[in-house]
Symmetry: C2
Subunit: 410 residues, 2 copies
Amino acid sequence: MPVNLIAPDANSLLPVPGVELGVAKAHIRKPDRKDMLVLKLAEGARVAGVFTKNRFCAAPVIVCKEHLAKAGGDIRALVVNTGNANAGTGEPGLENARATCVELARLLQLKPEQVLPFSTGVILEPLPMDRLLAGLPQCVADLNGQRWFDAAEAIMTTDIVSKGTSRQITLGGKTVTITGISKGSGMIHPNMATMLGYVATDAAISQQALEVLIDHAVNRSFNCITVDGDTSTNDSFIIMATGKAGNAEISDVASAEFSQLQDAVTEVAIELAQAIVRDGEGATKFMTIQVEAGRDVEECRKVAYAIAHSPLIKTAFFASDPNLGRILAAIGYAGVDDLDVNAMQLYLGDVLVAEHGGRAVSYVEEQGAAVMQEAEITVRVVLNRGQTDATVWTCDFSYDYVRINADYRS
Amino acid sequence: MPVNLIAPDANSLLPVPGVELGVAKAHIRKPDRKDMLVLKLAEGARVAGVFTKNRFCAAPVIVCKEHLAKAGGDIRALVVNTGNANAGTGEPGLENARATCVELARLLQLKPEQVLPFSTGVILEPLPMDRLLAGLPQCVADLNGQRWFDAAEAIMTTDIVSKGTSRQITLGGKTVTITGISKGSGMIHPNMATMLGYVATDAAISQQALEVLIDHAVNRSFNCITVDGDTSTNDSFIIMATGKAGNAEISDVASAEFSQLQDAVTEVAIELAQAIVRDGEGATKFMTIQVEAGRDVEECRKVAYAIAHSPLIKTAFFASDPNLGRILAAIGYAGVDDLDVNAMQLYLGDVLVAEHGGRAVSYVEEQGAAVMQEAEITVRVVLNRGQTDATVWTCDFSYDYVRINADYRS
């Protein structure tokens, strides 16, 4: 029983002027499912990307980075396939990723470096290039501004629901649209790899400002989620800005317009990232781990991730067990060397459960047990040693997590 | 179906001259089970200890460190209770741990600082001091050199089997005995806490040499195991040397005798530590993660722990699935920033499964699948960038892991 899975409905994803999408059933791995997406951008679009830090990064990630550097953000098309991650495929894998870009560039009359390739699916197997290349003209023939919903479905792998959301804001009197889609249901599926996120807007923004914006957005969204602590070979997050909204180009990152756009894009990114956690393998609970009053973001995140990664805590949440000991122990081993455990407070929801190094005097276990029954639970740790906060979102660990990951390849 | 659980039999644990043990059923938490142990050392014994680095360390750990510092290793008794960890209990918890030492010191005519207290069990609850103090004279009345097997049982909590082993070596013509016991079945049970290990020998060794020896032994044994990556509030490892064997006191850490003793104690510690992994919650497989040819121990351990802690890898092992992708991805995110993934080799058992950044050309999946059927599996990663190796032992993640940890408090 997954928690609060929110799939977009077909009409909720707003077209973004300057963006066309086309999908195909290319039979990359399984017959009769949408498994390819081409996204075409109008001339003048700006693109920025953030990629996995895994040393085993996949061929398409390497090619994306090369092309972004070479084209300087002047990217005009994206191509995504599911079914095969083109990871752990060595030099032939790089050649296949490049050949895919060359072919799509030919079809769309672009330079190859104006195309970004993405792959997700089984790893250590060669891309089926014949079927992939045959899918490209189908995607191109399908290109249309209204296809976001199909695009969200085309990039799914083990996802239970598709993931997408839209926002509109007004910038200097012009309506600006932001639409994003994502996929993923663990932080990693090296077999059926990966977290992918794509956000497009018609706002006009300079390349430099867009690169500031993407760091802000990803650090508050995709970099704050974890299902099992693993990161993938193919994780990618892309922001595209077509400039078709007609607002004056935003280049000053200190301007109100920049902040407004940044906030809206970040909201979209957070919703897309949280959707991945809600769809976490076997998840029954959505957990927000909020660490407050730390000295710096690093120590807050250490504590939050120690809690979010602990299998003991995640199984306790699955069991709706307000197991304070496991949370306190995780805080204790988070790696904040001079942490004074007697100075901190721990809350489950609004209930103060621990302080002065032990159970709070006012705490009655029934209160904690009531909080643990909820499908969405906030764990708050107040370190009381600084001014900084950090938040991480995660899900619980259930029998189904083991089942899904143990049975995956059978 | 736990793997290769090896319980000692009653006669396999050899008495150590200078060590007496006594157990009691004190009803600390549950009736009619051995739940207290007193271990008494002859005058002149040397004792060294290593404790949890968790910031939430329990009251007995704090008192152990105080007493070891104050008595300078001249410790004459240990007292262990199960059923209650005396952790997260604040100042009253410290007073209870100290009061326990005072009372045992009175019964044995020692100074309180010559007693080390240990507790394991539920946390955040006060020690039941009336029952605990009533148990002490029972333990004292039971003191006997032959009671190692009962001692191993008395310190069990969620352990399926008791854990103990003995060795004998000859040092300068004298027979030296080493006997150890341990408990634990996850690296942490904050509710029923902890990994405990006790090793005693009748060898004569100086305090300074003993402290060198304990670091060596613990770094190659208890510090190389992980069940779920969590560390506990109460983890403790103690080495005791009574000096009754009659060998010339070992004080030169460069001597052959020191090496011989160190090797034998380390062997005992490894066996005790591995027994904890074999008894890991829900474990069906025992995994040895061996990382070779790294630049330093730190990077080898990072890679080994990334593999050993990955829930995706652990569930794949449970499923006997030779899922190379998950292992390669874990190596990739282990945090060795300049790791060249194309230079390394990965072996499952004796089978070369990956090299040059992808699947080995010679690899046939049936070979990997055959290795994965074994109950004991070695994963070897050859980094090919230095001279250093490191080994970590762990177990798989099964449905039973979730069941045990989700149902634990019910």
